[in-house]
């Protein structure tokens, strides 16, 4: 817990600004190669991503120093990238190493190079002040590459402000209405939840005891306990870590076998791994994966879960796109909050403090 040192944010900005001094996922590790550069915009910065000959991932501003042609359309040549237009070459620090038709290199020829950390199967980039880029502050997503967990995920290109995705994940009451055929059930909006927070994190905990497992969870229980019938205790523990990573500890266990008290041995446990990278004020890269801690060797289950969650998240994507359109179509209407938004509102307050520290407004520029 932390003491409040700035006035609380009361109104919720509809188009929320994003901190720059933060690690954001730019890509899955396999997307960044030594064969050709990848173009991706992270927190408003267009980047060209590629790998050096030693395998290190590199992120340079995606505009040549000369006439701003996108380097991402160029070639990777060993430890250098070559501009597709006039052949200027740059090393991983962004220094120009070769210019056409002259014997020297202009000393001011440089493109910004951004700090990169590869962790948890992702390439993370820091587009803010490089002197503040501490690799120890990469959000914890340990389940992604732990031998005790198995699973896979995808990327959703979401046509909405990143905060709408965070709102969506911080309150799972919507499952009852958006995902009624898979994970939704009436008990979701009936169960109580608890919200706690620290200076960079928020946790929302919800337990539903002695209920019927919805279709998605019944299938998972039967993967682990063939032929399973009966009631379950279900949990959803949402862990937010600033600026935009949300891990949701989810699962069900045979009712009354002690899961709420800590014994999950009679259940199945998954971690929904989500990390959102704002692209622009109104578009986001949403990287997700579903990791499980049972039947780790089954590629079939990995594929089934990935496809299942793909279907569920497709329903969210549609809703969020429609919500963003409605927001833009109603510029003179404000947001109001419900009791269920407490988690999302704590997220906004943490982000608002990060933005204040950078001297940025909470509302993104038009």
């Amino acid at each position: 817990m932390t003491t409040l040192d700035s006035p609380p944010v009361t109104a919720a900005s509809k188009i929320f600004n994003f901190p720059r001094n933060a690690w954001y996922v730019a890509a899955w590790d396999h997307e960044v190669t030594a064969k050709q550069p990848l173009a991706r915009t992270v927190a408003g910065r267009p980047l060209a991503l590629w790998r050096n000959s030693d395998g290190r991932a590199v992120a340079l501003a995606d505009a040549c120093w000369h006439r701003l042609a996108p380097l991402s359309k160029g070639k990777v040549l060993g430890d250098e990238i070559q501009c597709p237009y006039h052949g200027l070459r740059y090393n991983s620090a962004g220094r120009c190493t070769g210019m056409p038709a002259q014997e020297t290199i202009n000393p001011s020829a440089i493109v910004p190079s951004y700090p990169v950390v590869e962790r948890y199967r992702y390439v993370w980039v820091w587009v803010g002040d490089p002197d503040l880029a501490d690799p120890d502050t990469v959000p914890d997503m340990e389940q992604m590459d732990s031998p005790e967990w198995a699973g896979d995920g995808e990327t959703i290109y979401a046509p909405c402000n990143y905060q709408l995705l965070l709102d969506n994940l911080m309150d799972l009451t919507h499952e009852e209405f958006v995902h009624s055929s898979s994970i939704g059930q009436d008990e979701l909006s009936e169960a109580e939840f608890e919200v706690s927070h620290s200076d960079r994190g928020v946790t929302v905990t919800r337990w539903m005891r002695d209920i019927d497992a919805p279709p998605f969870w019944l299938k998972n229980m039967r993967d682990r306990f063939p032929g399973f019938e009966g009631k379950v205790d279900r949990w959803q523990i949402i862990h937010f870590e600033a600026p935009s990573t949300i891990r949701i500890d989810v699962g069900v266990a045979k009712a009354g076998t002690g899961a709420p008290e800590g014994d999950r041995s009679q259940g199945v446990n998954g971690f929904v791994m989500n990390t959102i990278t704002p692209e622009t004020a109104r578009t986001s890269h949403y990287f997700w994966a579903f990791m499980r801690n049972y039947r780790l060797d089954s590629q079939t289950i990995t594929t089934q879960l990935r496809q299942g969650v793909h279907g569920v998240f497709g329903e969210d994507e549609e809703m969020l796109a429609a919500q963003q359109q409605a927001i833009d179509a109603n510029p003179d209407h404000e947001f109001y909050s419900l009791n269920i938004d407490a988690g999302g509102m704590w997220v906004r307050r943490i982000l608002d403090r990060m933005l204040q520290a950078e001297g940025l407004p909470a509302a993104a520029a038009k």
């Binding site: 620090a93 220094r95 020297t104 202009n106 001011s108 440089i110």
Partner: protein, 337 residues
């Protein structure tokens, strides 16, 4: 690293000015539209010099309060192009036309070691870098070279702040900077390929370092420098430019650049950076009476020695030390189609 090359003009008010070292004036400017100036940035000032508007570049020594106070320091150059005399005449309350911070000399991140080399007033470009490296806890060395302690700005402050990371070389104490041993020490260290050098100073010093850097086969991109084209092999002299195609000759005063003199004389020439970096104003040399003092960083050493082309924005013709007291000014004949 952020690279900001956008140029926009604003007004800046002189908030403080005082004598920092002999012939060096510290000027604190308060710009209209403050933006924090990162290490390595400079501001351009538009100065009215004898009825001609001239642009001059000054490194930002310190950026305080989000760029609301930008400190620059200007050395009075006896053979200056007029800019430093004008700057030394500024008083508190005066208003200047200035750009926001322009970045063409950014400090990198992630090098194993940083060596900053300042010759004389060149230290102004490196003070903020040294402070940043100290804050980062980076491995760095600050090399300060000057003619005399009296004229070396920030010397005591830097020695106090950076302690044994500073190495001081003073000509009149006969403790001279030996470029070969400085670069050789870097080349012989295990971190050599990941050592970056940032230098700013007289072009003769920078040329010597560049030659030594290349001779030791250190990576060229790791040698970073900034020059505003304001120093040469010889002091600026008056000289003459002959333009046979135009059937004209133009006299260049020691306070003026060749490019400025040609433009003042109504000769239409193309240029861009005006500091000897880009090569846009490169022209062919047909004949030289005297020496060419190139002062640019666009031409290679061989190209400079060939005397076949020069950059109009910074190059000068000179008699140099070899022909002292020669009655006729040096002259250069250019092919200007």
């Amino acid at each position: 690293m952020a690279v900001n090359t956008q140029t926009w003009w604003q007004q800046g008010r002189v908030a403080e000015c005082d004598e920092l070292a002999e012939g060096v004036r510290r000027i604190v400017l308060c710009p209209d539209r403050p933006v924090h100036a990162a290490p390595g940035t400079h501001v351009d000032l538009r100065l009215d010099l004898d009825g001609h508007v001239r642009k001059r570049s000054y490194s930002v020594v310190r950026s305080e309060d989000g760029g609301r106070r930008l400190t620059i320091s200007v050395q009075l150059a006896p053979s200056s192009r007029g800019g430093s005399r004008h700057m030394h005449g500024l008083c508190v309350g005066d208003v200047v036309e200035m750009t926001g911070p322009v970045q063409s000399f950014p400090l990198g991140v992630g090098a194993d070691r940083y060596v900053l080399v300042a010759g004389g007033i060149g230290i102004t470009a490196l003070v903020a870098m040294a402070d940043t490296l100290r804050r980062r806890g980076a491995d760095y060395t600050l090399v300060l070279a000057g003619r005399s302690r009296r004229v070396m700005a920030y010397l005591d402050h830097l020695v106090y702040t950076h302690g044994d990371r500073v190495r001081v070389f003073v000509d009149d104490e006969d403790v001279r900077l030996d470029v070969e041993s400085l670069v050789g020490e870097i080349a012989g260290s295990p971190g050599a390929p990941r050592t970056e050098m940032y230098m700013c100073g007289p072009i003769r010093l920078m040329d010597a370092i560049r030659r030594s850097w290349m001779a030791h086969e250190l990576p060229e991109p790791n040698l970073r420098f900034e020059t505003f084209g304001s120093s040469g092999a010889w002091a600026a002299e008056d000289f003459v430019v002959h333009l046979p195609q135009l059937d004209r000759s133009v006299r260049v005063g020691k306070d003026s650049s060749m490019l400025d003199a040609l433009e003042d004389a109504g000769v239409d020439v193309m240029w861009d950076c005006r500091k000897g970096e880009c090569g846009i104003c490169q022209v062919k040399v047909l004949d030289v009476d005297g020496r060419i003092d190139h002062r640019d960083v666009f031409l290679s050493q061989q190209q400079k020695e060939a005397y076949t082309s020069l950059c109009l924005c910074v190059a000068r013709a000179a008699r140099g030390e070899s022909e002292p007291g020669s009655a006729d000014p040096a002259a250069v004949t250019l092919h200007l189609p």
